[in-house]
Amino acid sequence: MNQVAINAKDLSIYYGDFEAVKSITMEIPSNSITALIGPSGCGKSTLLRTLNRMNDRIVDFSVDGELKIDGESIYAPGVNLISLRKKVGMVFQSPNPLPMSIIDNVTWALKFHGIRRSRERMEIAVESLKRAGLWDEVHDRLKDPAVKLSGGQQQRLCIARAIALQPKILLMDEPTSALDPIATRMIEELMISLKEDYTVVLVSHNMEQAARVSDRTAFMLLGELVEYALTEELFSNPKDQRTEDYITGRFG
């Protein structure tokens, strides 16, 4: 059993009075892929965006309970958002390259994180692009605008950009929902290889995807964590009737 990367205890998440996530307790082990599945509005994306405090931007957002990453409470007063987000990277639903060149997309954030020498930034960027399996496709046009890449390439660029910061955890919010099947497969293979170095938390609408790539799956419904188990077990032998209904397609 690996170390625990993320630890939630009685975690509730509110938008104003609305309880979007209801008193969840779960442990996510490091160097694994954990999938969060469930129908739209079940709170899985909310939970994911709470892990790097992206939800802080929402005015009436609040959390209750305990949420620890690497044993440290991330909603404690005085937590540095910048170092938290450096440690917990994120890949979004639709590819969102920055309005700059391919290479600058990867190096832009590094400068602020204390990597002053541009040669060093360049080396990290090349390494990250290779890691994300994009290098061979872009090495001869690094100065091209990132928006010229295809959707799948853009998403891999976003992954390269995130891993350039050497995070411990990588949050992926339906990273393939805007991509075609071939690009989806490449991202999925990439995810599996990434778990050697990172802890991946994946939100997916697609149950086949969750079954294919994840080690553990959490099924959420209306803000509740219904079932959380090893992926094989959850899909072959669900303990809860609602899980069974969902994975067999009876609702959602």
Binding site: N96, P99, M100, A109, P145, R161
Partner: protein
């Protein structure tokens, strides 16, 4: 039935086309007539010489051309940074705050204030204390028109930047100021420049705010604290004068003004084209 459908389709295409033509006609006829009237007097001397006394042929508007450059340039120096920074504040920091809403409201009101009133304010605030008409006073008046315009156009430009690329920056552990300067401003560069250009073109063509601020000058200006000639005022003076040759020179002045504004527009438009944003 099929015939009717085609007929409706054709008519509906025709109506906007007619509207386009109706929009273009004034533009073409104005520039055409301006060219026709102005070109005859437009020569090297017109661009390089001072006005001649009444009755003497020749002479030019060199002092007015330079004067417009100076007054508009000073107004830009003062107004562009303030306007853009205020726009950034409105879009990125004070969107829903009370201060933000107040600033936005005041900017909108200021946009609607007749330019002659702006001139009076500049007269009271700058000319009276300085005891002199001056380039500074003219620039102050024009900047007062430029600031609210740029504030609003910059705000609008920044609001078109999709939220997901801001989130990309934040998720990379960047502070908000760096997301604003590194991503949002970069993405909105072209529309901000367009706003600056439109603003400059607008104030370059203003006459009323300069009437009793920059005043006018038939000679080269003596420093920025004294009266200075501008193209618009010079055109106005020459156009209402009873002398035929002055009237004719007013046309040439107007042509020069239009050409300058168009050139400025073209240059910035070409240089601000962004490679890194879609569209």
């Amino acid at each position: 039935m099929n015939l009717r459908r085609k007929l409706v389709d054709k008519t509906m295409t025709l109506i906007p086309l007619l509207c386009v033509i109706a929009t273009i006609i004034p533009l073409i006829s104005i520039s055409g007539y301006l060219l026709y009237q102005g070109i005859s007097n437009l020569n090297w001397a017109f661009l390089t010489e001072l006005p001649k006394p009444v009755g003497e042929p020749g002479g030019g508007m060199a002092n007015s051309i330079v004067g417009t450059g100076i007054v508009v340039g000073l107004a830009g120096l003062l107004g562009i940074p303030i306007g853009i920074l205020a726009g950034i504040y409105l879009a990125e920091y004070g969107q829903q705050t009370r201060l933000g809403k107040t600033v936005r409201f005041i900017a909108d009101v200021l946009l609607g204030v007749p330019s002659i009133v702006i001139g009076i304010v500049a007269y009271a605030v700058v000319v009276v204390p300085m005891q002199s008409f001056s380039a500074y006073a003219g620039a102050f008046a024009l900047a007062m028109m430029l600031v609210p315009f740029l504030t609003r156009t910059t705000e609008e430009a920044l609001l078109t930047v999709p939220d997901n690329i801001k989130e990309a920056g934040l998720a990379l552990g960047q502070p908000y100021w760096r997301v604003v300067t590194g991503i949002v401003l970069r993405a909105a560069k072209a529309p901000i420049f367009t706003g600056v250009m439109l603003g400059i073109a607008r104030i370059a063509g203003e006459t009323a705010p300069l009437l009793f601020t920059a005043l006018n000058n038939r000679f080269w200006h003596q420093g920025l604290t004294g009266p200075i000639s501008t193209l618009t005022i010079q055109i106005y003076n020459y156009a209402i004068s009873p002398f035929q040759d002055w009237n004719q020179q007013a046309w040439s002045g107007a042509l020069v003004l239009i050409i300058l504004v168009t050139l400025l527009n073209l240059i910035v438009r070409i240089s601000s084209r962004s490679r890194y944003t879609q569209r």
